[in-house]
């Protein structure tokens, strides 16, 4: 099988430089598509942000095909940056999942053509519920754009695909617009690093921002302790017993459950290893 099944003739061989050039052209088309969105940004974007900020329920993001994949990512980004959101599959929506939409929600629909039938079928349902619709399309005259409360134009002059068929620059444009909405909402909400950590308890950032000393320390009988009158060998034994490479040296004090404050509080470590190398960090 030297020739792919979908290609009747073998493609022209490309040298290494031509491959790099092809990639560069595609990236250039996509970069320009995103840059152009920025230049066109205006009132519609503002209204979309205000509408999303005012939403008391969830932002439900929907789209079919490549737009569906982008919709899923936008929903995830919104959810992790302070805007409760989820992805709704339009084909499933018109077969029952539309019940996931409540009066408090908002629908953010992605469709490059603006004519995706499954999404258009949702419009009457939204109207009946009074759910606002924000459409991201590449066609201001489309049925979806006209039905929307706010239409944000994400049109691109051309796809990166040389046949101008495969959604490439257009999906990148939608993705970038989703990010622009998400980060603007994040700003409007005063979302902090701490808030971000709360939705990422499994990540390193979450652990760094959420985990407290109390969560990882040894307490009670696990604390190595000796008195100031103890012998050095008693101290060493206590260090070995508790296995932390350290022992506290505290004077008994009946008034505070056996241990006294500052003056006699000291520590002795084995000193075997004195530094933490940055290389020990987990990523």
């Amino acid at each position: 099988m030297a020739t792919p099944a979908h290609s009747p003739t073998a493609p022209a061989p490309l040298d290494d430089a031509a491959l790099v050039e092809s990639g560069r052209v595609a990236l250039g088309v996509e970069a320009e598509a995103v840059a152009a969105l920025g230049r066109r940004l205006g009132d519609d974007f503002v209204r979309a942000c205000r509408l999303m900020l005012a939403c008391r329920g969830r932002v439900i993001v929907t789209g079919l095909g490549k737009s569906g994949h982008i919709a899923g990512k936008i929903a995830a980004t919104l959810a992790s940056t302070g805007t409760p959101a989820f992805f709704l599959h339009p084909a499933e929506a018109v077969h029952g999942d539309v019940g996931m939409i409540t009066r408090e929600d908002l629908l953010l629909a992605l469709s490059n053509s603006g004519e995706t039938n499954e999404i258009l079928l949702l419009v009457p349902v939204l109207k009946r519920l009074g759910v606002p619709l924000i459409a991201l399309t590449g066609n201001s005259g489309s049925a979806l754009a006209r039905a929307a409360d706010v239409h944000v134009d994400v049109s691109v002059p051309a796809e990166a695909c040389p046949l101008n068929l495969a959604p490439t620059a257009s999906t990148t444009a939608s993705l970038a617009m989703g990010d622009a909405l998400a980060v603007t909402l994040l700003r409007l909400r005063g979302f902090t690093e701490q808030d971000f950590a709360r939705s990422h308890p499994g990540g390193t950032l979450g652990r760094r921002l959420l985990l407290h000393v109390a969560d990882v320390m040894h307490a009670g009988e696990e604390i190595p302790r000796v008195g100031p009158e103890s012998t050095v060998s008693a101290g060493l034994l206590e260090m070995s017993r508790k296995g932390l490479g350290i022992t506290s040296v505290v004077a008994p004090d009946a008034a505070c459950s056996g241990y006294s404050p500052t003056a006699t509080c000291g520590a002795r470590s084995t000193g075997a290893s004195t530094s933490i190398r940055p290389g020990c960090r987990r990523s």
Partner: protein, 53 residues
Amino acid sequence: MTADGRTIGARELAAEAVLLMERHRITALLVVDGERRVVGALNVHDLLRAGVM
């Protein structure tokens, strides 16, 4: 012994404990309350296990 060794509060972030250890080139800390009574102890292995370093 080291009188007045390095300590940290139980409500501080574990990441703060990492910074303190790095800054002072030590591998363990005592945890004290507001009146500097010892309420806990931890070392680098606890922080490694917790994934904060």
